[in-house]
């Protein structure tokens, strides 16, 4: 598929920059630990132990991060939190990528009135106060894991659509698009074979910057108590819980918060690094 082949340069960028490579490595490591950890740890995230509430971090019984107010193992809960957080972020980004790229490329390529109407719709959605919207959704429907994806995807695709539209407009005036028309490529063929493969560099970069945004939004919702519900958890929910017991058991706050910050840092760094490599202006 020509669209996927365009990812090859991205792989090249990752090899080209050491910083980008280190970030990718760290993120893969975090994801691996989050997935494999629960299989190795003797504790699960759900069993309570009221004899061992607010247990300090210890090597005994592999309770590296201590226990929370119900005596649940924080290490297992943090691993679960990472899983949920990354899952929400990646799914939300893919949702926003899908909608944003199709919407933006269509608006940009067709142009004229269609473009105007489509982009004014985006402006209108931007104007909605997002938090109220989410609270409304949560109240109207059952609190639900799926709703979080919908809510986060629903704001992120707006940015993506704008960026893709701008790129498409500049691409469609390039001569290779005219050349394709002359040899008789149809409009969908031009969008699929000639426009989208050239969007991928920008889109991939932008996605690495969208993921931390989605993580933050999810944490924020969980922090407000609107996100993932017990006994499931996410890094945001863990931080929220940690704040309540900050005085008595500071590790409940410090550990999940550090993990969250580390993941966010990696993604931001990766995004910035990729942007520098992808942008031809930086290649002097």
């Amino acid at each position: 598929m020509s669209a996927f082949r365009a990812l090859r340069p991205v792989a090249r960028y990752i090899r080209a920059s050491r910083m980008v490579a280190i970030c990718v490595l760290f993120l893969l490591l975090v994801a691996l630990v989050a997935l494999a950890g629960p299989l190795l740890s003797p504790n699960d995230y759900i069993s309570t132990d009221f004899d061992n509430r607010f247990g300090a971090p210890t090597m005994r019984g592999m309770q590296f991060f201590g226990t929370d107010e119900f005596g649940r193992d924080l290490f297992s809960r943090t691993l679960l939190g990472i899983q949920v957080t990354l899952f929400v972020a990646v799914i939300a980004s893919i949702v926003s990528l899908g909608i944003g790229v199709i919407y933006g490329a269509t608006a940009g390529f067709i142009g004229g009135k269609v473009d105007a109407v489509m982009m004014r719709a985006v402006d209108a959605l931007y104007a909605l106060p997002f938090v109220f919207l989410v609270i409304l959704l949560m109240v109207a429907f059952e609190r639900n894991f799926l709703l979080i994806f919908v809510a986060i995807g629903a704001i992120n695709w707006l940015d993506m659509a704008r960026i893709v539209r701008g790129q498409t407009i500049s691409l469609k005036h390039r001569e290779f698009v005219d050349a394709a028309r002359l040899i008789g490529v149809s409009t969908p063929g031009i969008i699929w074979r000639h426009i989208t493969p050239n969007l991928f560099g920008v889109v991939v970069v932008y996605m690495t910057l969208t993921i931390p945004q989605a993580i933050l939004v999810e944490s924020f919702l969980s922090f407000l108590g609107l996100g993932v519900q017990e006994p499931q958890t996410s890094l945001g929910a863990l931080v929220n819980n940690g704040i309540t017991h900050m005085g008595r058991a500071p590790w409940l706050l410090i550990i999940p918060a550090s993990v969250l910050a580390f993941i966010l840092f990696c993604f931001n760094f990766l995004g910035d690094g990729l942007r520098d490599v992808v942008d031809p202006k930086n290649k002097t």
Binding site: E175, F176, D178, A179, G184, V185, P197
Partner: protein, 593 residues
């Protein structure tokens, strides 16, 4: 002691094995005019940048550059700034990007004087106005307050030259100062540079790929190739008896207006392949809210015979490209009809049938922009086959791609590469391969060789003519380069501000132009012969804005032969021997050579 001594200059970049400039030795005396010529990548611009201390930080420079005995290589910015502008000044290639768009012209010139504390504010204003006058800007008081975007390309280059000369430098470095300009404006700017050089007694270092530019303006010339100096000597000697084979190759491949005609004769009685009738193109002008339209092409007709090459020439903005795009259906035409083999075509390319589309192809000006960066050479060349020969098996397709690549002079190994891995010439060959693989009847080349070096240009032209001889291809060749026109065309169509000035046979046009504009174009072309006398009077001024065209004949404000009627009536195309010409004075003017 010479003024500037470049001694063993070597410039290397970490990411390329070959040095950009290697062991260059050049001496420039006071008041001398010296030219550096070479193809792109020969290290000319690198040398200029090294003199000005403008090389990027990752350049590894060795050797020495001494100006009046002071070493400039590796000098601190403070030292360099004492020399820049006041002793050595530079004119860049593209006047659109070399001026600061947010600062008024006058201020940019004035700043040079104030920065170097050459005079006070009041005197600086006077000297700036003087300089603007000297470089031939009309109404200097107004240009003093103008922003760069308010000036045309030629005027901006004049302002750039003014900014370079206002500090009265001992050396003016001009890096391709006219490459971005039209041929008539180029003649004006070259005249200005050489006049000012004679007048101010500053030395001139002229860097260019165009041998004609050097021939008319420099006493001495340095020829560079791949970073090395291959020849140096007086312009006269180098041009008449080159020692190095590289110089010889440069000289022989450079298109000359007096060169041999390469095209083969054709049968003029056959039915036309492509007929264009009264086609007109206009754009909505965005800046004017009243829906004013910019008329890029005024109604014009043309027919193209089998195997025929029609060249379309004119300055930028004359509507050449709009005409081509309208014919191909890439741009909506306001009126008129295009017929192919006697059948009228829908105006939009999407509505044309595949049989027709495969017969009308185009090669674009910028080879890299016309190739999709995400597709390999093989995919690019195979794409037309995938659409038009959908029954073809993959192996057959690959085989015909390989044959096509060999035909355009590319090795089959290149098929796996991506456009950014190709040189300009290779990329243009790929674009030609893509347009020829369907064996079209008509190929429109829009400045197809303008972006290429002389020797590569020559090869591409030969390739197109071979294809024409083999498969009966008809060519519409859009160009601003009259030397190319002379070499390959059968007929020539001259455009000015969207109108036809003249349609003539190749021979007739060059022997006896009928339109004063054609004559002006012909005499503006720099001749590669140091002995040739300079252009008598280059055409003054520049084309008016297409939004407010002059009344009557659009060319009359610049025409040396204009009479009263030219201001009042637009001339119709009339027959004049074998030539069609739109000029009121076509009958009584004799413009022949």
């Amino acid at each position: 002691m010479s003024m500037l001594e470049i001694d063993g200059l070597t410039i290397r970049y970490a990411d390329s094995p070959a040095p950009a400039v290697s062991d260059l030795n050049v001496v420039i005396e006071r008041g001398e005019a010296i030219g550096i010529v070479g193809e792109s990548g020969s290290g000319k611009t690198q040398t200029a940048m090294a003199i000005m201390g403008l090389l990027p930080a990752n350049a590894d420079v060795s050797g020495s550059i001494r100006f009046d005995g002071t070493e400039l290589r590796g000098a601190t910015p403070t030292v360099l700034n004492r020399y820049r502008a006041s002793r050595i000044a530079m004119v860049f290639q593209d006047p659109r990007t070399a001026l600061n768009p947010y600062v008024r012209i006058g201020k940019q010139l004035r700043r040079v004087l104030l920065e170097h504390k050459m005079c006070g504010g009041a005197e600086a204003d006077v000297r700036t106005l003087d300089m603007l006058q000297k470089v031939g800007l009309p109404d200097p008081e107004r240009q003093f307050r103008a922003f760069p975007h308010e000036l045309s390309g030629g005027m901006r280059q004049r302002a750039m030259i003014g900014a370079a000369l206002i500090g009265e430098p001992d050396l003016l470095v001009a890096d391709e100062p006219t490459t971005a300009l039209d041929v008539t404006v180029q003649a004006q700017i070259l005249r200005l540079i050489s006049d000012l050089h004679a007048e101010t007694n500053s030395a001139l270092l002229l860097i260019t790929h165009d041998l004609g530019v050097v021939a008319g303006n420099c006493e001495r010339v340095v020829v560079m190739d791949k970073g090395c100096m291959v020849e140096e000597g007086s312009t006269r000697e180098v041009f008449s008896a080159p020692v190095s084979p590289r110089t010889e190759a440069l000289l022989s491949s450079a298109p000359r207006i007096d060169s041999e005609v390469m095209s083969s004769p054709i049968d003029t009685d056959a039915d036309p392949v492509l007929e264009i009738e009264d086609i007109a193109v206009s754009f909505k002008e965005h800046r004017s809210s009243w829906g004013e339209r910019l008329h890029a092409v005024k109604p014009m007709s043309l027919s193209l015979g089998e195997c025929e090459t029609v060249a379309v020439v004119g300055e930028s903005g004359s509507g050449k490209t709009s005409l081509a795009r309208a014919v191909l259906g890439l741009l909506p035409a306001d009126a008129g009809r295009v017929s192919f083999l006697g059948r009228a075509l829908p105006s939009h390319v999407g509505a044309r049938r595949n049989r027709v589309r495969q017969n009308l192809q185009m090669v674009f000006q910028d080879p890299l922009a016309s190739l999709n960066p995400a597709m390999s050479v093989r995919e690019i060349v195979a794409e037309p086959l995938r659409i038009h020969e959908s029954g073809m098996k993959k192996e057959e397709r690959n085989k015909s791609v390989d044959t096509m690549l060999t035909r355009v002079g590319l090795e089959a190994e290149l098929a796996g590469r991506y456009p950014h891995e190709l040189s300009g010439g290779q990329a243009q060959r790929v674009a030609i391969a893509r347009s020829l693989i369907l064996q079209p009847k008509v190929l429109i080349c829009d400045e197809a060789v303008a972006a290429l070096d002389g020797t590569v240009q020559h090869e591409i032209l030969k390739l197109l003519l071979t294809e024409q001889a083999n498969s009966g291809l008809s060519l519409i060749f859009i160009t601003h380069d009259l030397a190319v026109v002379r070499q390959i065309s059968h007929r020539v169509l001259v455009m000015y501000m969207g109108r036809l000035c003249e349609i003539a046979e190749n021979e007739a046009l060059f022997r006896r132009p009928r339109h004063p504009y054609t004559k002006a174009l012909l005499s503006s072309v720099p001749v590669i012969d140091p002995e040739a006398s300079a252009v008598d009077v280059p055409l003054a001024g520049e084309a008016a804005s297409a939004l407010s065209p002059p009344t009557g004949c659009p060319f009359h404000p610049r025409c040396p032969h204009a009479i009263a009627v030219c201001n009042e009536e637009t001339p119709e195309l009339t027959q004049c021997n074998s030539t069609l010409v739109a000029c009121h004075r076509a009958a009584d003017l004799d413009l022949s050579y």
